[in-house]
């Protein structure tokens, strides 16, 4: 079966225009909250610079920081595991549960486990996983992946959630009140927290200097799960390391403000040691990260702290929805991370952008996201992963733009055609014209205009 590409999925999303408008406006509202929050900090740009520099240093010394983190974590009684890929990561989690005879686990948000498709793997092995973040629980009940890394069910209307909860949690039919639905989830998940012996969480930051990990949530679900379980498994990509504890100040000031406009998440929990008599395991996962580290042009993508600001601001994301990216991490950042995992499968994603640069401007760690999108396009075409139409168009464009004569002829031809026979270009076979009005065709090119007007001025 052919996997639908971004444009095809965006088409499906755009069938319901009202929903697209609503999605667009909701995310833009979050972007505006981010702006308001950031503007209250006069040193905001310095914070971004500092965060980016700390992450640069981290990537440049990652080998030693990983060793330092491991040493300090072990000293604190934490058990460390290393996984080269998603498969090994999933197997480690499964083994840890099997050793304890556990077949039910509660999980808080972890994009890494989405990347590794852990839930599916565990379910195939007879282990029930319940996602405890409200948004994640909602998409889990709907049997969908999250559509946003911070707001997993941002694509869903409350009426649809009401329907899901009626079916699965027994809330009254037709009730779509967020307060009532959240309360129902609270009761249902409290029972889950109290009865699960294993809890899995993600990791926001891991401090090399102290061997501790920091997990941020608004709901308190990571803490509820971890503190009530016999075994807490925390999964992290190796790039989540930061050198020192004091660096947390920079990242915690930036993270929530960039994500939702909050001054900080409700809970920023620091786990340094397991509870008495309980176990804390940390799985350090590579899954392509060392490869990305070696790609000079793309390694900065590993600085990402998963705030989602680039998605909220992206005109393409807002109007195409997270699912159109067919990757665990959607939006602009997902589009520069995914081709590293599989160039063929994700060849369409770097093209799902207008290259407007808004993503780079809001990124709290100053990743040059739109430059990387542009660079991925070059790589993908060179490696032969672009679609044939795109390749021909780009090659023709390159030839035309590199020859002044051809450029002039092409310009003139386009103006004439658009003036006298617009249907040849503006028809339903030209994707560029779908849902787009073009400006009026000028009488002459700038070059022709300049020639005449320079003469007039002389």
């Amino acid at each position: 079966m052919k996997i639908l590409d971004h444009a095809e999925r965006a088409d499906i999303f755009n069938e319901d225009e009202k929903r697209v408008d609503w999605h667009d406006e909701t995310l833009w509202w979050i972007r505006q909250k981010r702006d308001k929050s950031a503007h209250q900090i006069p040193e905001w740009e310095n914070l971004r610079n500092a965060a980016s520099a700390i992450k640069s240093n981290t990537l440049s010394n990652l080998h030693d920081y990983l060793l330092e983190f491991e040493k300090n974590a072990l000293k604190n009684g934490i058990i460390i595991h290393w996984a080269v890929d998603a498969k090994e990561h999933n197997e480690i989690v499964h083994r840890l549960l099997k050793e304890k005879g556990i077949n039910k686990m509660v999980k808080s948000k972890s994009m890494l486990t989405e990347e590794c498709h852990l839930n599916e793997y565990l379910e195939q092995n007879g282990i029930e996983v319940i996602d405890s973040d409200l948004g994640e629980r909602i998409v889990q009940l709907a049997k969908e992946p999250p559509s946003h890394i911070v707001l997993p069910c941002i694509h869903k209307k409350k009426e649809e959630i009401g329907e899901l909860f009626h079916e699965h949690l027994g809330t009254p039919k037709g009730n779509a009140d967020p307060q009532t639905l959240t309360e129902a989830a609270r009761v249902h998940l409290r029972d889950t927290f109290l009865t699960r012996r294993a809890a899995l969480t993600g990791v926001n930051f891991a401090v090399a200097e102290t061997g501790e990990i920091v997990i941020c949530t608004n709901e308190g679900n990571a803490d509820m799960g971890a503190h009530l379980a016999d075994i807490h498994i925390a999964c992290m990509g190796i790039e989540k390391i930061i050198p020192k504890r004091e660096h947390l100040s920079v990242f915690l000031r930036l993270l929530a403000r960039s994500a939702t406009g909050q001054p900080i998440t409700t809970y920023s929990s620091h786990f340094a040691k397991p509870r008495d008599g309980k176990e804390l395991h940390i799985i350090l996962v590579d899954n392509g990260r060392t490869r990305q580290l070696g790609r000079e042009e793309f390694r900065n993508s590993l600085k990402c702290i998963r705030c989602g600001a680039c998605m909220n601001t992206c005109p393409v994301y807002r109007r195409s929805g997270g699912h159109s990216y067919h990757n665990a991490i959607s939006g602009p950042i997902g589009a520069i991370l995914a081709p590293n995992l599989d160039m063929k499968q994700y060849a369409d994603l770097p093209f799902a952008s207008t290259l407007c640069g808004s993503c780079s401007n809001v990124c709290p760690v100053k990743i040059d996201i739109h430059d990387q999108l542009y660079k991925w396009r070059q790589v993908l075409v060179k490696e032969g992963y672009a679609t044939t139409a795109k390749e021909i168009a780009m090659k023709t464009m390159a030839t035309t733009l590199s020859s002044p004569t051809l450029y002039k002829i092409a310009g003139k031809a386009a103006r004439t055609t658009l003036k006298y026979a617009p249907l040849i270009i503006n028809n339903k076979f030209n994707a560029w014209y779908l849902q787009r009005e073009m400006p009026k065709v000028p009488k002459s090119s700038f070059g022709e205009w300049y020639k005449i007007n320079r003469k007039n001025n002389e």
């Binding site: 900090i41 040193e43 310095n46 610079n49 520099a53 700390i54 240093n57 990537l59 440049s60 010394n61 990983l66 290393w82 080269v84 090994e88 405890s132 973040d133 409200l134 997993p152 069910c153 869903k156 967020p178 307060q179 959240t182 989830a185 609270r186 998940l189 409290r190 109290l194 102290t210 608004n218 709901e219 308190g220 803490d223 509820m224 503190h227 009530l228 050198p243 020192k244 004091e246 660096h247 100040s249 920079v250 915690l252 000031r253 909050q262 001054p263 900080i264 998440t265 409700t266 809970y267 929990s269 397991p274 509870r275 590579d286 060392t290 490869r291 580290l293 070696g294 000079e296 390694r299």
Partner: protein, 195 residues
């Protein structure tokens, strides 16, 4: 080669030339002085409640006026709260805290810029207590309000804790159509008393 060595070798081979860490000194300069006002404004803005009190007696009378204390389970490690709270719990069974209605905990310090209070394991009785309780009361000394997170981590320094957390407001979610709902999985309300 095992996975650990394989990953470390790949990192070593692919990591770029060493760059320097930035100085953070400048972030300590020119920060807010009206710390109580700032803290109160920010925490109120994110759903918490702040009251300045003269002493713990005043806290007790305010709690008595707002909760039917004799009908609910109240837990606190503070000896000053003995009149209204119990300080003994069974750490082997944190699940047993599920019916706690009110937890009264001391915070080491608070942060004005984001309304967060820092708690560490030594003062919690149990890690799950500030989360599992229906309502959370935190007590902070007025003089322990710091301007920013930089000051916060300076204060924490290299303290050895097993667990510590910043708490800023009640548990909340906006996952359903971005409608803010207080009381997701953790405490439904947060009331901070400044002494």
């Amino acid at each position: 080669m095992n996975s650990r060595d394989q990953i470390l070798a790949a990192v070593k081979a692919n990591q770029p030339e060493l760059t320097l860490l930035p100085q953070l000194d400048s972030f300590f300069q020119g920060q807010e002085t009206a710390l109580i006002e700032k803290f109160t404004q920010v925490l109120t803005g994110i759903g918490g409640k702040v009251t300045v009190v003269a002493d713990t007696t005043e806290i007790i009378s305010l709690l008595k006026a707002n909760y039917s204390l004799d009908q609910i389970r109240v837990i606190s490690p503070l000896s000053t709260m003995q009149e209204i709270a119990i300080n003994a719990i069974d750490n082997r069974h944190p699940h047993e805290l599920q019916n706690v209605e009110l937890a009264i905990l001391p915070a080491h310090f608070a942060v004005a810029e984001n309304g967060a209070c820092w708690l560490s394991e030594a003062m919690l009785l149990d890690r799950v207590l500030p989360f599992i309780t229906q309502h959370l009361i935190l007590i902070v000394n007025k003089i322990d309000i710091l301007p920013t997170m930089h000051h916060a981590y300076e204060k924490i320094g290299n303290e050895h804790y097993g667990y510590g957390t910043f708490i800023a407001g009640p548990s909340k979610t906006a996952d359903i159509e971005q409608s803010l709902v207080l009381g997701a999985h953790g405490a439904r309300s947060l009331w901070v008393f400044l002494i």
